[in-house]
């Protein structure tokens, strides 16, 4: 016997068979009708609908046979599906293909077989409709045709059955979908309700806006906080409505620096960070409809659709007035307590120091030990108070950084020098790798404090004979310091904790290592105030590396208090080839009301002199295309520039003999500032250069003669001339006669009157004179408004100490007159 070969399309045929869903399906009377009909037409005892599966034939319907399936190898039908017409075997005994077939030899003892293939519309023969007899015979032509016709009907029925099934399934699918969508829409609705409840019930103002800023929704808390109704702002106003324009300008400047590209003040100021995928959380003063403002903590987040397309922004803001007040109270408390603590500590520390030093006679060894313990602990208490005060100042934003140009190498050397004794005691070796000529701007003392802190920590946690390495390198626009130790290292989860207050890895460390637990928190605060960041990398067991990175061009402080706003301020040309330094000077001058332009070379300076026509020149002597002294010569020969005051900024002390101004027609070489200089020093010198009329004059208006004299004596030490006026009438006369640089008023009740006098004076002469008011009453908002544009400071008598008052006077005067000690010869 020989098994039938596989049809060429066997794979597709089997797929079609599976798809039909007939295999192993439940009995179906329709199929039985076909087989009964076939047996009747062909007059055979057996008729089957046989489906040829991969390794068997399975009978969907059968007449005269009781098996469900037989192996495919034995199947007559496996042969029949190879044909498209009827396959007939009249006598199996006479056919070599089937003579020894088990189905021939044994039950059902097939002698005769005729099978019509069941061919689908795609052309696959799924099986056969076949008739079988136990004796040899043949079929009439009509019977053959009928068998074929019946086979076609079987296929048609199979197809029909399949489509009905599909339809059923589709219907069921549809029903399921409908149900799901009903459930979903209920869920969506309840989610929307929830959102609405959160939106309106929240204590945060929630304002959503379109990508360009138009407000799209405005919740109840926002209405409550800001005083607008949703209907007044939705669809018409922009988010910028609630923000202080001045604050926006400041923030835009910071952001431009931070992101390295210009950010316009306005909506972009809020959205720039969020647009870049960073939620922007910060404190703002929000402005109410009535013009009053309050501090708020606000977060701006970008909204995106599923495709990642920007659809708008949402601002979440929280009124933090109360928090601010509490903070303020806490800060004042800390500051007062710390100061009060220092006074008794000075006595304790002093008394112990004298005893320990043996000044008052010898002590027993035990007494000496006890005194030493007391002295060491009072030292620790002092350190702790210093640290708390420091941190408090930084956190309250009261620590003003004095930015100067610094050299990383010099800074590193100073830090190492200061800590060397400690390293020697601990037997730890200090190494440094700091390249030359790496400049940065920052507060020297504060950065030194950070380096000292980190070095001292590194030494503290290094074993004897360990090594601590200090490195500095430029990384892009930043300067990166790193301090590596050979200590036990720091597990990852503890690294960020370290920068919190009073955090040490092991609480017992505080006592064992003698630290205050504030050093790293202070370092972090200082680094962040320099707009830098600090972090730790460590492999436990192999030491830790503390990094901090600062922008090499630190941002300048805001305009100092008391600075005169001068939109049409004097023009200053800054001739300086060091781009970093030039930028800082320009920014400094701009921040205090000058209109400043830069020139990097002699050639550029000549051009700017003609076009920009400065009122004063800041001149660096070492320029790439020659000496600044040449420019000074040229200026002196040109009548147009001969009168312009020049302030020389040089790395060396003054080299010229006598002031240049002594020669007729010479540009006035008015001052000589030695680098590195502090910005305030420069501004002071520049102001003096521009004033050109001698010492600053301060008009004291007070009916208390003793007060005037006391203040006058104090001002005299600053080289300032005091003019006296006991009342507003004589003050007005004095204004016109002497044109003072600053007016101090000690009679607040005369404030409004004096402001009127100052306003008249300004209209007549164009001179805006700053006014410092001290007394027990604040100026009214109306008075302040009238005082614009001259600047005004108000020091209520009850709120400040005498020292604070004198400091404010000094600060204002310092801007008028250079401090005598710090200038060149």
């Amino acid at each position: 016997m020989s098994a039938a070969p596989l049809p060429p399309d066997e794979e597709g045929r089997l797929r079609a068979l599976r798809r039909s869903g007939l295999l192993d399906s439940a009995p179906d009377p329709s199929f039985d009708d076909f087989t009964r009909l076939a047996a009747f037409i062909c007059d055979t005892p057996i008729a089957l609908v046989s489906l040829v599966d991969a390794d068997r034939q399975w009978f969907k319907s059968k007449v005269g046979l009781d098996v469900a399936e037989t192996p495919r190898g034995d199947a007559f039908c496996a042969h029949a599906i190879l044909e498209r017409g009827v396959t007939m075997v009249p006598d199996s005994h006479a056919d070599p293909r089937f003579a020894d077939n088990p189905l021939v030899q044994h039950e059902p003892k097939i002698r005769f077989y005729a099978g019509a293939p069941l061919v689908t519309p795609e052309g696959y023969a799924l099986g056969t409709l076949c008739v079988i007899d136990r004796k040899p015979r043949t079929l009439e032509k009509a019977q053959l045709e009928a068998l074929q016709a019946l086979a076609r009907q079987v296929v048609t029925y199979v197809e029909l059955r399949m489509r009905t099934g599909d339809l059923d399934r589709s219907t069921r699918e549809l029903e399921r979908t409908q149900l799901a969508s009903r459930t979903a829409s209920r869920a969506v609705q309840s989610l929307l309700n929830l959102q609405r409840a959160i939106f309106d019930g929240a204590n945060h103002a929630i304002v959503a806006c379109a990508p360009e800023g138009t407000i799209l929704s405005f919740n109840k808390a926002a209405a409550r906080m800001l005083g607008y109704e949703a209907s007044e702002v939705v669809g018409s106003a922009s988010l910028t409505l609630f923000h202080d324009p001045k604050e926006m300008v400041r923030r835009a400047r910071e952001l431009s620096e931070e992101l390295g590209q210009p950010i316009e003040p306005g909506f972009e100021t809020f959205s720039a960070k969020a647009r870049r995928g960073v939620p922007d959380e910060r404190e703002w003063s929000l402005v109410r409809k009535d013009g009053t403002s309050f501090p708020a903590l606000s977060t701006v987040t970008a909204l995106k659709d599923q495709a990642g397309q920007l659809t708008g922004f949402v601002e979440l803001a929280q009124d933090i007035t109360e928090r601010k007040q509490v903070e303020q109270m806490k800060n004042e408390f800390v500051s007062i307590v710390s100061h009060e603590l220092r006074t008794p500590l000075t006595s304790i520390r002093g008394a112990l120091g004298l005893l320990e030093g043996g000044v008052l006679g010898d002590l027993s060894a035990e007494a000496k030990e006890m005194i030493a313990i007391a002295r060491q602990n009072s030292d620790r208490l002092i350190r702790l108070i210093n640290d708390i005060l420091d941190l408090d100042k930084i956190e309250a934003g009261k620590m003003e950084l004095v930015h100067t140009r610094l050299d990383a190498g010099e800074l590193a050397r100073a830090a190492l020098e200061g800590i060397r004794a400690y390293a020697d005691t601990a037997s730890v070796e200090l190494r440094a790798s700091v390249p030359d000529k790496l400049a940065l701007f920052g507060d020297r003392d504060r950065l030194l404090q950070v380096l000292t802190n980190l070095l001292s920590n590194a030494i503290k946690f290094s074993p004897a004979q360990g090594v601590v390495t200090l490195r500095a390198e430029a990384v892009g626009a930043n300067l990166r310091f790193s301090i590596a130790d050979s200590g036990p290292g720091i597990p990852e989860h503890q690294r960020n904790l370290l920068f919190r207050k009073f955090q040490q890895l092991d609480a017992s460390d505080t006592r064992r290592k003698g630290g205050t637990g504030l050093g790293l928190a202070i370092s972090k605060a200082i680094v962040e105030q320099h707009r830098g960041r600090i972090w730790i990398e460590s492999v436990p067991g192999k030491g830790a590396v503390f990094f901090f990175e600062l922008p090499r061009r630190a941002l300048q402080q805001q305009t100092s208090p008391g600075a005169l706003p001068a939109p049409n301020g004097p023009r200053v040309l800054v001739v300086e080839d060091d781009i970093d330094l030039q930028a800082v000077v320009l920014q400094t001058l701009a921040s205090v009301g000058f209109r400043a332009e830069g020139a990097g070379s002699l050639a550029e300076a000549r051009e700017r002199l003609q076009l920009f026509r400065p009122d004063a020149v800041l001149l660096d002597l070492a320029l790439p295309d020659g000496s600044g002294l040449d420019l000074l010569e040229e200026m002196r020969r040109d009548p147009r520039t001969a009168e312009v005051p020049v302030l020389v900024v040089s790395g060396t002390q003054r080299a010229l003999a006598g002031p240049g101004g002594s020669e007729p027609g010479a540009p006035q070489l008015v001052d000589w500032v030695v680098k590195p200089f502090q910005e305030t020093q420069l501004v002071t010198a520049l102001r003096r250069a521009l004033r050109r009329e001698g010492a600053a004059q301060v008009l004291l208006v007070d009916d208390d003669e003793r007060a005037r004299e006391l203040l006058g004596a104090h001002l005299a030490t600053l080289g300032v001339t005091a003019l006296h006026a006991p009342d507003v009438a004589s003050a007005a006369a004095m204004l016109l006669a002497r044109a003072p640089d600053l007016v101090l008023l000690g009679m607040p009740e005369a404030g409004a009157e004096l402001l009127t006098a100052l306003g008249n004076y300004q209209r007549e002469t164009g001179r805006a004179t700053p006014l410092l008011l001290y007394g027990d009453r604040e100026l009214s908002a109306e008075d302040k408004r009238r005082s614009a544009p001259s600047s005004i400071k108000n020091l209520p008598k009850g709120a400040g100490t005498q020292e604070e008052f004198l400091r404010a006077v000094r600060d204002l005067v310092t801007q008028l007159e250079p401090a005598t000690r710090r200038q060149g010869p």
Binding site: T346, G350, L354, D445, Q802, E803, R810
Partner: protein
């Protein structure tokens, strides 16, 4: 410069006493004590000390006001003045210097080195002037 006679001005009696012991016993100096700015002005005029150690925070006349008065009088304007302060900010120190003080001693001070610290500050100032 030769430092032999010092006027110590502080409103806290304990600190005056400790300063006195320190300057006398350790520093071998002659010490006058004043408990207020007014008293300080009087003693400065009368005794012409080599240096004045002046507390910043005092009631009525504080350190800077006292300094201004000292500088305003031809009799006392050349006496070097050092401030004593519990404040630690660099800016504050800078400001005191700009008022005409020659140095700042921070509180709490070390009584074993106080006289030496004063001498160092006076020397540094003298060198600055010489330049």
């Amino acid at each position: 410069m030769l430092l032999e006679r010092v006027l110590l001005v502080d409103d806290e009696p304990d600190i005056r006493r400790i300063g006195q012991v320190s300057l006398q016993a350790v520093g071998r100096l002659k010490v006058w004590l004043a408990s207020s700015g007014a008293e300080a002005l009087e003693l400065a005029r009368a005794e012409k000390p080599d240096a004045i150690l002046l507390d910043v925070m005092m009631p009525e006349m504080d350190g800077p006001a006292c300094l201004a008065q000292l500088k305003a009088s031809p009799e006392t304007k050349d006496i070097p003045v050092l401030f004593m302060t519990a404040k630690v900010q660099t800016q504050e120190v800078e400001r005191y210097l700009s008022m005409g003080a020659v140095g700042v001693i921070r509180k709490p001070f070390d009584p074993m080195t106080l006289a030496q610290d004063i001498r160092s500050l006076l020397d540094a100032d003298e060198q600055r002037r010489a330049r």
